[in-house]
Symmetry: C2
């Protein structure tokens, strides 16, 4: 059934028992008290985690229907078709859901190869030293040496989504 | 400086500018309004996403100090040293932080090879059909055929963390 939000509500089943949610074949996602579900997105070729974002029901439904990643933008409070501005569309090769169905994993192919608004391939371009290395006082280390694109050329004067 | 929470507060820097947070070498994580930061954990050998959980400052500090994954258990409301009950400890091979430092990625080696309370290797053991396959009416598909361990043998009568 189509809803005022514009997505097919029959995509999502009801959560009735723990066994159904954990061991069943119904997609019965749990959105949190803000109506959102977190989503991890990895590069299908390298396995690298590209980004972690959230989806509302409409974004999850659009992702399923179109095979392209849609998120909910918390900074802009809009449905966010990734790549609509930058051209860096994420084609979904595989979508997975976790045991209690409160988290989504997308394995994607990225047009242009980059996903991070700062210009790097992955948002996770810095390593945090742990254990002995951290005790020796090491700071964050950049694991990507060069940006994949120039964010000013791609995003122009759009506001930076990073908040302090 | 050691705090009443028992972790070294000097591990975390202050968030002063967007440039420092995005392009600097200081670890200056952003915890949300509940004091939590999400964490994606992948298998360092297969690249598979094993789980997505949250950390409070103490869990993040303990993970950095010990090199073993610690989370905050929302269902039990305690610091959660992963594997303390099951033996399935996660040794951190690499920790990364994202652009705006509000998400952590752990690449781990898992003792026993499994991370999911249902008994599977990964919590993401089911695939969600998208696009044409979904339109053809396909349900969730199990990508792991067999459980890696018997959850009843490992967890006994501990309450199931899945909530409807």
């Amino acid at each position: 059934m189509s809803t005022p939000a514009g997505h097919d509500d029959s995509l999502f089943g009801r959560r009735e028992t723990v066994e159904q949610v954990e061991e069943g074949r119904d997609l019965a996602p749990k959105f949190d008290d803000r109506g959102l579900i977190p989503c991890v997105t990895t590069d299908v070729h390298t396995g690298e985690v590209l980004m972690v974002a959230v989806m509302n029901p409409e974004a999850l439904a659009k992702s399923i229907e179109t095979g392209e990643a849609h998120y909910w933008s918390r900074s802009r409070q809009v449905l966010w078709h990734k790549g609509a501005t930058s051209g860096l569309v994420q084609r979904i090769v595989e979508m997975r859901i976790d045991d209690d169905q409160d988290c989504v994993w997308l394995r994607v192919e990225v047009a242009g190869g980059a996903s991070c608004h700062v210009g790097y391939r992955s948002c996770f371009y810095r390593r945090v030293p742990v254990g002995a290395e951290r005790r020796a006082g090491a700071g964050l280390e950049f694991v990507e040496r060069e940006k994949a694109f120039d964010p000013k050329a791609v995003y122009g004067d759009a506001p930076n989504p990073t908040q302090l």
